[in-house]
């Protein structure tokens, strides 16, 4: 994994931590804010968070690594999420996922060599009455098929 933490300046990280620190239970809000800014949780942020919240670096790392959302390295420019949960399986999600992964030559969590697309599994997007469900960037796709996913990817510039 190539960490690109060099782009995250300690000053900016500190400012993000400060903005959320007043909350009760501020750690998850801080991590979300960092990930939204940098696309992952920069390694350099861990000691700064630990210091600000009076935790050990190991405790912060424990939280970051517990949650599926938090990444230790950036994803591709666009994330394609495919729902693997039961309601979507009932409407053909397994075959759809197999064909999408096969076409990109990826396994789950993989990123295309050009860094354009990362494919992630998701367990339910709440679109269970119109599955299979997918998400391209922020855009939800109900009754997803290869063509609709391709169109959304193209529209998002992937």
């Amino acid at each position: 994994m190539s960490h690109q933490a060099t782009t995250a300046e300690p000053g900016e990280i500190r400012a993000i931590i400060e903005a959320e620190r007043h909350r009760e239970g501020p750690l998850l809000p801080i991590l979300h804010a960092l990930q939204s800014r940098f696309g992952h949780i920069p390694e350099a942020a861990l000691p700064l968070i630990a210091d600000a919240l009076r935790l050990t670096k190991a405790e912060v790392h424990g939280v970051v690594s517990f949650y599926h959302d938090f990444r230790e390295a950036p994803a591709g420019r666009l994330t394609l999420k495919l729902c693997r949960a039961e309601a979507c399986q009932a409407t053909g999600a397994n075959a759809l996922a197999a064909s999408v992964l096969d076409r990109f030559g990826l396994d789950w969590h993989g990123t295309t060599p050009d860094g354009a697309v990362t494919v992630e599994p998701v367990y339910c997007l709440g679109l269970c009455a119109c599955g299979p469900a997918a998400m391209v960037g922020e855009r939800l796709i109900g009754r997803a098929d290869a063509a609709r996913i391709d169109a959304a990817l193209a529209e998002a510039g992937a």
Partner: protein, 512 residues
């Protein structure tokens, strides 16, 4: 006076994320453009969803004689819609799927603009909160108890009893935590409610605060629901600005405020104690009980943890009275339940009704059978930890005790329909795999058991039928030895699949 085409027209279109996932934004754009090109005076109002997902995007046009439904609509149908020449489904409230519902919790959803304070009050909103403000905490709790409301998150614990424990606890601070970590596949009621009528959740939480002495609330929403997060955040801001929340709610001198917290993709955080750990900024591991969260919950203080639907049902109980609510339902399952009909089903969506409807009626009459047109093979009820039911069990009435008696659970009332192509051994394997991926790791039966479960099912798949006994034994251990419902209930889908479809596990007849 003008008439016909030039009369002002109100057009209603859902902004629910299911509708958006099926093209509602493109339809909205087409309506705006076409109306502008024709110089028509059109008011496009974005509402929540009526819950008829198979008809989304559903467009309702009111030319002065009520809301006439069209759906599913594609952008190329828009000119005909504005001409009045498009095919119609008739008045939206005469569509049988909608007409047959008893909408109490979802009374406003799909009808009003979710973020309009005026709409909310005009449709009965705040009546419950005003009534609660005139009551003592004891009276508020008693009202909830009388209504018979039970936790809609799955466990079915009586809400009034939970509130009373928090009410009687002495503490400098207490909390109301709304569990909006709706991770169960086949369920979307929480999402639909938060996107379609967020103020009702706010009102319910404020009443919970008054009843228990809590002054701060958190809505813990899963990160997979970006639209619900955005809508709840906007609604809370609007409610605060209007004085519905804050230091002086509705001028009463009473205090209650709340904020949204976003989860981070951990299914187990739907379990109340891991949710509390997550809220506090810790790993979302399960806590052993006792202490009960009602006594030592968020930040060590007495805390009500209720599901979205439980809390969102509170306003209508106070608006119409506890007895009105309790008059619906059967046995000890009182009131209404928003059924979520999902998976391979023709008419998928949300149907709010009194408890007691037989499972088969839900699947076949409401759902219209499978979308594929093939026979129904199984229905998983209650999410990924719920049991599979086969058609011979379709007379089971939808209620907490009734489903328990049939070896299942209603959970959050999601139903996932599968046709006869479903691979039930594959589904059992998936249940174990999901448990392995999502286990918080605290207890061994769940952490290790789920991994062994996947391996054991693979052995069965390879022809080792002797492993069926091992799987059965493993499920017993997980059921009895796990700390929470994740490890404890994963055996439900696994064992029900094995019991109902033994031949798919290489057995000649029913196991056990």
């Amino acid at each position: 006076m003008t008439e016909g085409k030039t009369a002002p027209m109100n057009i209603y279109l859902s902004c629910d994320s299911a509708a958006k996932s099926l093209g509602a934004e493109q339809v909205a754009k087409a309506i705006t453009q076409e109306a502008e090109a024709r110089g028509l005076s059109v008011d496009l109002i974005r509402t929540g969803s009526r819950g008829m997902v198979w008809l989304e995007p559903l467009v309702e046009i009111d030319r002065g004689a009520g809301r006439i439904a069209h759906g599913p609509v594609t952008p190329d149908m828009v000119p005909a819609l504005l001409d009045g020449s498009a095919e119609t489904l008739g008045p939206v409230d005469t569509i049988p799927f909608f007409a047959r519902q008893t909408r109490l919790t979802f009374a406003r959803c799909g009808i009003t603009d979710p973020l309009s304070l005026t709409d909310y009050e005009a449709h009965g909103g705040l009546t419950g909160l005003r009534r609660a403000l005139a009551m003592t905490a004891e009276q508020i709790v008693e009202e909830v108890r009388t209504s018979g409301l039970r936790g809609r998150g799955g466990a079915g614990f009586p809400t009034g009893i939970k509130w009373d424990t928090v009410r009687q606890a002495e503490a400098d601070r207490k909390y109301i935590v709304c569990n909006a970590d709706e991770g169960d596949s086949g369920t979307f009621a929480d999402r639909m409610l938060m996107e379609g009528d967020p103020f009702t959740l706010i009102e319910g939480m404020a009443i919970a605060g008054l009843g228990t002495g809590a002054t701060k609330g958190f809505v813990y929403i899963r990160s997979e629901y970006p639209d619900a997060i955005a809508t709840m955040e906007r609604a809370i801001r609007l409610a605060r600005e209007a004085g519905w929340l804050g230091l002086d709610i509705l001028g009463s001198g009473r205090t209650f405020d709340m904020e949204v917290r976003v989860g981070a993709g951990a299914y187990v955080c739907g379990e109340e104690t891991s949710l509390l750990n997550s809220l506090e900024g810790k790993r979302g591991v399960v806590r052993a009980k006792p202490p009960l969260p009602a006594l030592e919950g968020a930040f060590g203080r007495p805390t009500v943890v209720n599901n979205v639907i439980s809390l969102a049902t509170v306003p209508v109980i106070f608006e119409k009275g506890a007895q009105h609510y309790a008059d619906f339902g059967l046995g000890r399952s009182l009131g209404t339940i928003p059924l979520q009909i999902a998976g391979n089903v023709k008419h998928g969506g949300l149907f709010e009704t009194a408890f007691g409807m037989p499972l088969g009626d839900i699947v076949n009459d409401l759902g219209g059978g499978t979308a594929s047109g093939r026979p129904v093979k199984a229905v998983q009820v209650g999410g990924p930890l719920g049991a599979y039911f086969a058609p011979h069990q379709f007379d089971t009435p939808f209620g907490y005790e009734e489903f328990d008696g049939a070896g299942g659970l209603i959970g959050h009332a999601g139903l996932v329909v599968f046709d006869d192509t479903a691979d039930m051994r594959g589904m059992a394997r998936f249940a174990m795999e999901f448990c392995a991926v999502e286990s918080c790791g605290k207890c061994t039966p769940c952490r290790i058991g789920a991994v062994r479960g996947v391996e054991t099912i693979d052995r069965i798949a390879a022809g080792d039928t002797g492993a069926v006994e091992i799987l059965t034994d493993l499920c017993e251990t997980m059921k009895d030895g796990s700390l929470c419902a994740l490890g404890g209930f994963t055996p439900y889908p696994v064992m029900s699949a094995l019991r109902l479809f033994p031949e798919e596990f290489g057995m000649k007849e029913a196991a056990e």
